[in-house]
Symmetry: C2
């Protein structure tokens, strides 16, 4: 089973990487761009057989390693 | 209009960040994890009114700044 984990900064947390991208886009002439936010995606293959077990395992991974839950949110997407 | 750009390394390109995450997960006891790949998501707000114009603009941004098309693929997701 494949899983995709989307890790994004929580609302209200300053995103310097997103701000830098926004500034660079403006400099390149893309003026109509706002609120740029940068996040991460982590794709992984799991040996877990059923979806419930897989989701539980990936949630544990997110809480322990993949996301900093103080400032980041995560979303898990499972693909059979 | 909102856009999400997913930037991932092309197949076959070595992904040291993904390898490091995989190794760390194994160390934490998550043995059943393989083929970990790390990518980026960039979320942005656009002033472009219609979807075709928005997609064209975001594609130009990807080619000029957001993705390194030699080693990375990108996928654009538009949300009205």
């Amino acid at each position: 089973m494949k899983a995709k984990v989307h890790v994004t900064l929580k609302r209200g947390v300053l995103d310097p990487q997103g701000k830098a991208i926004e500034h660079a886009l403006h400099t390149l002439g893309f003026g109509g761009v706002e609120n740029v936010r940068a996040g991460k995606v982590i794709e992984l293959d799991l040996t877990a057989a059923d979806e419930a077990a897989a989701r539980q395992e990936v949630e544990a991974m997110c809480n322990r390693l993949l996301a900093n839950t103080v400032i980041e949110d995560y979303a898990i997407e499972l693909v059979a």
